[in-house]
Subunit: 460 residues, 2 copies
């Protein structure tokens, strides 16, 4: 008799030091994929991964099995079912091994398999995105992606936030966050005859729609895909990405910053608790500072500094920036990192940016020059989160949209939220993929997305 | 001194019967929106909702407040902040009330506000989708939507499933689940010069992509939007909707059906535990059987019946169906409901459908006539979930795609999963919006989606 177990269950059992359980376990069955198989003639060793845990189980096979020759030929990548005797190995590198008594090939792996033991470049791995989750780095990234998603949901749901599926298809071309794709069923751009009877776009933000829900549920959030049709081939831009956009009613910019700080700290804790094996891997293989960096952020008080003060500091700084500093400019990464890493030496919110460089919906401050915006800067990368208090005054919003020459027809519904019991409210946007890059130290957004989409690149 | 509290917190405190807490509470502050305001000259009553709870708090204002005249004019929909004395009212309809000592108007509501007290048709409410979450029915629907989303995540994450964000933009036009939208930045359909250098579609399913991840993580799921460009104006079809698509490796059709049954039961329990107020509202206002119906399903064993047996039963049935029954047909709703409601009298999986009416990726059975598919039928609606074991044999899949005349270039990566350690695996698709319809008894998919998109309908 044997017990079917996952490799995660075996490791957790061993780490728990539960000797009653360990001692009672004799034979186990595992299913998974061969990572390596080496045979010294006398004894053979298979490193097996079953998808449930970052680490492998070591299988040992000797002379006593009837299909030993077959087993010795199981190639890297093959799917197998194996039964064997569970044995603690306190003197070995791995804490236990399975002495194989039976092994069955479930799915062979062709010799052309690209994921042999040697290391490949990340560029090459993108060309085999359907296979790369089996490689250590991507296995760790994509499990972390799942854990971090759950962290987000738990954080908001535990506080009673309502999750809203804002639409992907939108009729608003003026959401103010970048170039948009058109979704169509025609080849002639005759949108009046098109599926929706007008031009449909892929959303760049769920914020405008979720604001409507904040006026019913007080605290809400979105978590879904967004799109940018920008032809920029950088390591931080993808054409399709996931965003988190909370919106809170009866709340101002300070409440918003409190929420951002809580969320970032919660997520860091959650990841360290639920994906420590993966984080240790990133620390070892990708970015030796990653755990230290996020632990420092978790344990820091997030400072707050007005944009105007930051500009004054930058102007006085004894540093030669590539881009000249002046009030009214959009800060570059060099400036953000200087403030955050050299001046504050920790996470900092810059607040109250010039209205000219921010979106139309941000609340105009009493100086009529700045808006109640906040960007969270963190050491190592610069901007991580951007948020603002929203303009809740109908006439001010109306005036601002005129100033910017915006067409208002499609956004009358959004403006009407201000006429029908619109209260002060605030919210922010967190680029989920960039948050993952920040946590892991992975430098290219293409390497944290399951099937990345970028200009001229739509594989699979 | 007063304590800021939400209406949910007040109800939970009262229901908990914690008298120490209740007795120590004197003055509270609430923020929310006026649902109704009536003044009999002597005393006035405001029903306030703050978005945290389905039920309102009753505010009472008398002669002692200085801005009483102003308060009496707070119109339906207005946002207010109110401070007052908390009082249990054991003899009244509502368990407590707040005797107002101060009330401030945060955001007025224009007299043109469409959500006055009278009831509106669901059709009309779709035209004010930005406001309808404030109306009871939609307030209940959209909170349930959030609760059910969390149920899905908890169910899968607790069992170690990895959540995968499969891409929305895809190069595969042959995913086999319906008409597709094209995403483009051009007006001339010259896709070689387009953003991606080839035609890009909005996905109809994440299944093909998530299969790649099941071959790394064993148990995975997607939960995200999908699209159909079908010009069908029915109450059950939307052009944009959310889908859940789990995929499990080393698993066959029986494992798949076990998983579906577990998931459906878990979600029903979760909803009854976490959104009982909302479910009671649906029972009272929308569908008096809804709680009974889902409780029955939760407590039933899900039966399993081959399609061929179902056809035999239908052929012998003493019922005049609108559509003639014959082996090889796609069952209509009348047939599904007959089997489920009259024959089995409970939830039932129909299995092993003719391959001609099912998708190319389903595993061909040994009879070479049927495939290892399963549809879950439930009383009241018919089909709720569709799943299958996937064809893991390269040559059989290859042959099947040829038979169907499919272009294989774009799907070579998918076929290759079978060459590189592909093991038996299975999965299913659950239309999230239809699941919500099933739970609530709401008859039109447009009324469970925040901003529904259907042919010629792209409001907001």
């Amino acid at each position: 008799m044997f017990e079917f177990m996952t490799i995660r269950e075996l490791y957790e059992m061993v780490f728990s030091n539960n000797h009653v359980e360990i001692d009672s376990l004799e034979y186990v069955q595992l299913q998974g994929w061969v990572r390596t198989n080496r045979d010294n003639g006398k004894v053979g060793f298979i490193e097996l991964n079953d998808g449930t845990y970052f680490r492998n189980a070591q299988l040992v096979y000797g002379d006593l099995i009837k299909n030993r020759d077959e087993i010795a030929k199981f190639s890297t990548g093959s799917a197998i079912t194996v039964t064997g005797q569970f044995k603690l190995t306190p003197d070995a590198k791995q804490p236990f091994e399975i002495v194989v008594t039976e092994a069955v090939l479930e799915g062979a792996c062709d010799p052309s398999y690209p994921l042999q033991k040697k290391r490949h470049s990340f560029e090459y791995m993108r060309e085999i995105a359907h296979l790369r989750p089996r490689a250590n780095t991507f296995y760790a990234v994509f499990r972390l992606r799942s854990v971090l998603s759950m962290a987000i949901h738990e954080f908001f749901q535990d506080q009673g936030f309502v999750y809203v599926h804002t639409p992907i298809l939108t009729g608003n071309d003026g959401e103010g966050a970048g170039e948009m794709f058109t979704a169509t069923t025609r080849k002639d751009a005759d949108y009046e005859k098109d599926f929706f009877g007008k031009e449909a776009f892929l959303t760049v933000t769920g914020q405008l729609h979720v604001e409507a829900f904040a006026m019913a549920f007080r605290d809400v959030y979105t978590f879904g895909p967004a799109f940018r049709a920008e032809n920029s081939n950088t390591s931080r831009h993808a054409s399709e990405f996931w965003m988190i956009e909370p919106e809170i009613a009866f709340a101002d910019l300070d409440d918003n910053m409190d929420l951002i700080e809580d969320m970032v700290k919660f997520c860091i804790n959650y990841v360290l608790e639920n994906a420590l094996e993966e984080m240790k891997f990133f620390e070892k293989m990708i970015d030796q500072d990653c755990i230290k960096r996020i632990t420092h952020v978790r344990d820091s008080e997030f400072k707050r500094m007005p944009y105007t003060e930051a500009i004054e500091i930058l102007e006085k700084a004894d540093v030669k920036f590539e881009n000249k500093v002046f009030w009214g400019m959009d800060l570059n990464s060099e400036h953000e990192r200087y403030i955050c890493e050299q001046v504050v030496k920790g996470p900092v919110f810059l607040t109250d940016y010039p209205k000219e460089i921010k979106a139309f919906y941000m609340r105009v401050n009493d100086d009529n020059k700045t808006v109640a915006a906040c960007d969270l800067l963190v050491p190592g990368v610069g901007e991580l989160v951007g948020g603002s208090q929203r303009e809740e005054r109908y006439d001010v919003l109306d005036h601002r949209m005129d100033e910017l020459g915006m067409k208002k027809d499609n956004l009358q519904w959004y403006m009407d939220l201000r006429r029908y019991g619109g209260c002060k409210h605030a919210g922010f946007g967190l680029g989920f993929d960039r948050f993952l890059m920040y946590l892991t130290g992975i430098q290219n957004i293409r390497d944290v997305e399951p099937f990345p989409r970028t200009p001229r690149n739509l594989l699979f």
